[in-house]
């Protein structure tokens, strides 16, 4: 045993810290206070006194009716918005349920999210839910799926006579999930994804002022192995790639775009102080990056808003109720870091998609923090801690180094396309697991305090088993009852626009309104852009 200690990302940690450990740059940033650039101490002056963080959990499985039931359950439990999670087999791949890849695994359909064929399924899910008053993430976490998911949701609103300008919510179309964390069997290439994200962003600037068009989710990079500095660096490397591409189009200035791109996601894991430091460093880095790179001085344009999902990879299959304690600790770190919204990974994460009870616990953890602990009273309550400020500064310095390395690779998309990012994530993931196997890093239930039998065994949520059959029936119904000529026209127009420089969200809205199905959109995309070859090698 040695006395040398390091954070999860390898930053050496001393036994105690003093005033000399706080660098002058940190003192300056501290003096600005919360709600002022560089936002080290929080995005808003009043923080949780004026606006509690939003309780924002992922949910979805089975049939549209199952998803609706779970969303209503979560709203009754006190959730502050809804996140619709869709079936990976179909949604992420833009495959209809009768696609051979899906038929080969038909029992899997609906296990990891609700099965959505088109706008009618969205109508079923959202029936009776006042979407004009509820902050919504309508799905489309994966890049090629996002335009369709957003268009379906917005079409439901239009059919209800709701002005799109009233809608508040967020898209995702996240490169980390799509091209790093959870790589699909088929996916349009990153350059096409960049174009789609640009179209969504401009469409929101034109029509949906309260909508966050895309949300860069560092979570999926971090949970694939990227360290805290790499997570910071890659999130901002993605953001500048978006901003540069949009600025080149010439319709909007970086200053008009930066707020739209500045709603991001990070993962908070079990290294308590490092992850608090990470969220604080993130705000400061974003504010400084926008000023340095684009000359943006306006403070609101440089204000980063953060959604956190606590680390699923930190949760254990063994002794699953221990994960409630882990979820609480990670949620606490997220709040001390100043999040705007938070999803706590459910205690049954390593076994199944969440049961109702596991979902309820994730909401309750947050409500207990909000109502019983008093930690919402003061913004950035740990600000000024010698240790935390030293760690925040060190993390920031390392993140800038990593950011520069990515730029030397040719930018984020290049680093992704070449596999550089995947190799970096895989190397660290392997090192971390070696530490567990060699017992240098202890995880309760994995390499210490293991037990063979647990009296509190859970079996995992089983979901619905008829999702594929039901979806096949709905698909047949849509095909036979829609105006076929209108659907074909909409698809032809979509294809034409995909091959042009026009915004694809315009024909996508027409297509969803014409009951075009998920798989038909996928066929157009595959025709136009082809398939991406993931750069992962054993």
């Amino acid at each position: 045993m040695t006395d040398e200690r390091r954070t999860a990302s390898g930053i050496p940690v001393k036994g105690h810290y003093g005033p000399d450990d706080v660098p002058p740059s940190a003192r300056e940033a501290l003096a600005a206070g919360p709600g002022r650039a560089p936002f080290l101490r929080g995005a808003y002056e009043g923080m949780y006194r004026t606006k509690p963080w939003r309780i924002f959990q992922l949910s979805g499985f089975g049939n549209p009716a199952d998803e609706r039931e779970r969303l209503l359950f979560l709203l009754r439990q006190g959730e502050g918005g809804i996140i619709m999670e869709h079936d990976r087999n179909t949604a992420d791949h833009l495959y209809n349920v009768d696609h051979p890849e899906v038929v080969a695994r038909r029992e899997d359909v609906g296990l990891t999210g609700a099965v959505i064929i088109g706008v009618r399924d969205y109508e079923t899910i959202l029936e009776g839910i006042p979407i004009e008053d509820i902050y919504t993430h309508p799905g489309g976490a994966v890049v090629q799926h996002a335009p369709f998911a957003l268009a379906c949701f917005w079409t439901v609103a239009k059919r209800r006579g709701i002005d799109l300008r009233r809608l508040a919510g967020t898209g995702q179309s996240d490169f980390f999930l799509t091209y790093v964390g959870c790589i699909t069997k088929q996916q349009i290439p990153p350059h096409a994804g960049l174009r789609l994200n640009g179209d969504i962003t401009e469409f929101c600037l034109d029509h949906l002022p309260r909508w966050v068009p895309v949300s860069i989710a560092g979570y999926n990079g971090a949970d694939s192995g990227l360290s805290a500095p790499d997570e910071l660096a890659t999130v901002f490397a993605t953001a500048v790639e978006y901003l540069d591409a949009l600025a080149e189009r010439g319709r909007y200035e970086p200053q008009e775009l930066s707020h739209k791109v500045g709603g991001v996601n990070f993962r908070v894991g079990m290294d308590f102080f490092e992850d608090i430091a990470k969220l604080r460093a993130a705000r400061k880095m974003w504010a400084e990056l926008l000023e340095r790179r684009y000359g943006i001085r306006d403070e609101k344009a440089r204000q980063l808003r953060i959604h956190v999902v606590t680390a699923g990879s930190a949760l254990t299959y063994q002794q699953p109720f221990n994960n409630i304690a882990r979820g609480t600790i990670m949620a606490l770190a997220s709040v001390l870091g100043g999040v705007q919204s938070l999803g706590v990974a459910c205690y049954d994460e390593a076994l199944s998609i969440p049961s109702e009870h596991a979902h309820q616990m994730s909401v309750r953890i947050q409500q207990i923090l909000q109502h019983e602990t008093g930690i919402d009273a003061v913004a950035d309550p740990l600000g000024g801690s010698y240790y935390l400020e030293a760690l925040t500064s060190e993390l920031e310095a390392r993140a800038w180094e990593s950011f520069d390395e990515i730029q030397q690779q040719g930018g984020f998309v290049e680093a992704l396309d070449s596999g550089w990012l995947h190799r970096r994530a895989a190397r660290r993931q392997s090192e971390q697991w070696d530490e567990v196997e060699s017992n240098t890093r202890l995880i309760v239930g994995i390499n210490c305090h293991e037990i063979d039998e647990t009296p509190f065994e859970i079996d995992g949520f089983q979901g619905t088993t008829d999702a594929w059959d039901q979806a096949m029936a709905r698909l047949a119904e849509v095909r036979s009852s829609r105006d076929g000529a209108a659907a074909r026209r909409a698809l032809r127009e979509l294809e034409r626009v995909c091959r042009s420089n026009e915004n694809i969200m315009v024909p996508m809205m027409q297509a969803t309104d014409a009951d075009v199905t998920l798989g038909e959109i996928g066929d157009v995309f595959r025709d136009v852009w082809g398939d991406w070859e993931p750069p992962i090698r054993p």
Binding site: R88, N89, D92, H93, P100, E101, V102, A104, R105, E107, D108, L111, T112, G181, C182, I183, T184, K185, D223, S224, G225, S313, T316, Y317, Q318, A350, L351, S352, A426, Q429, S430, W433, E437, I443, G445, I446, N447, E453, E457, I458, D459, G460, I536, P538
Partner: protein
């Protein structure tokens, strides 16, 4: 050199687990054929064409999909052992173990997985096997 086919049965693309396991097996001297996300028929033909000594299935979906693959493998590549890892809830684990498939859920040590691969490719029974005691369902 023993040959191991590693495949993902579902269309969920989380690749951390399969990559870690594949590399550990390769480092331990196995020849690893990584199929990625593959349909049952592709896993079966890879097991036959590659003359596999062992098949490793990464599961993120339903047990019925896995069972169909196991049935097809038993016909096309009889005697080739299969082990399973991934998001395998306890009831699925018991169901697979009852038909002789070893299951390595999240948190399993790579050294245990490598040891299992060595044992399975040699054709010896697992050390924990208790021939006179069938697997117990602890909920019963």
């Amino acid at each position: 050199m023993s040959r191991v086919v590693i495949a993902k049965t579902g269309l969920d693309g989380h690749w951390r687990g399969t990559l870690l396991v594949s590399r550990a097996l390769r480092d331990a001297g196995f020849e690893v054929i990584m199929l990625g996300m593959a349909r049952g028929e592709d896993i079966v033909s890879a097991a036959v064409d590659e003359d596999a000594d062992l098949v490793g299935l990464n599961v993120g979906g339903r047990v019925e999909v896995v069972e169909r693959i196991l049935d097809d493998l038993a016909v096309a590549a009889p005697g080739v052992p299969v082990f399973v890892g991934g998001v395998v809830p306890p009831w699925v684990r018991r169901r697979l173990e009852a038909r002789g498939v070893e299951v390595y859920p999240p948190g399993s040590k790579l050294e245990a997985i490598v040891a299992a691969a060595r044992r399975l490719t040699r054709g010896s029974p697992p050390p924990s096997a208790r021939p006179d005691e069938p697997p117990q369902d602890r909920n019963e």
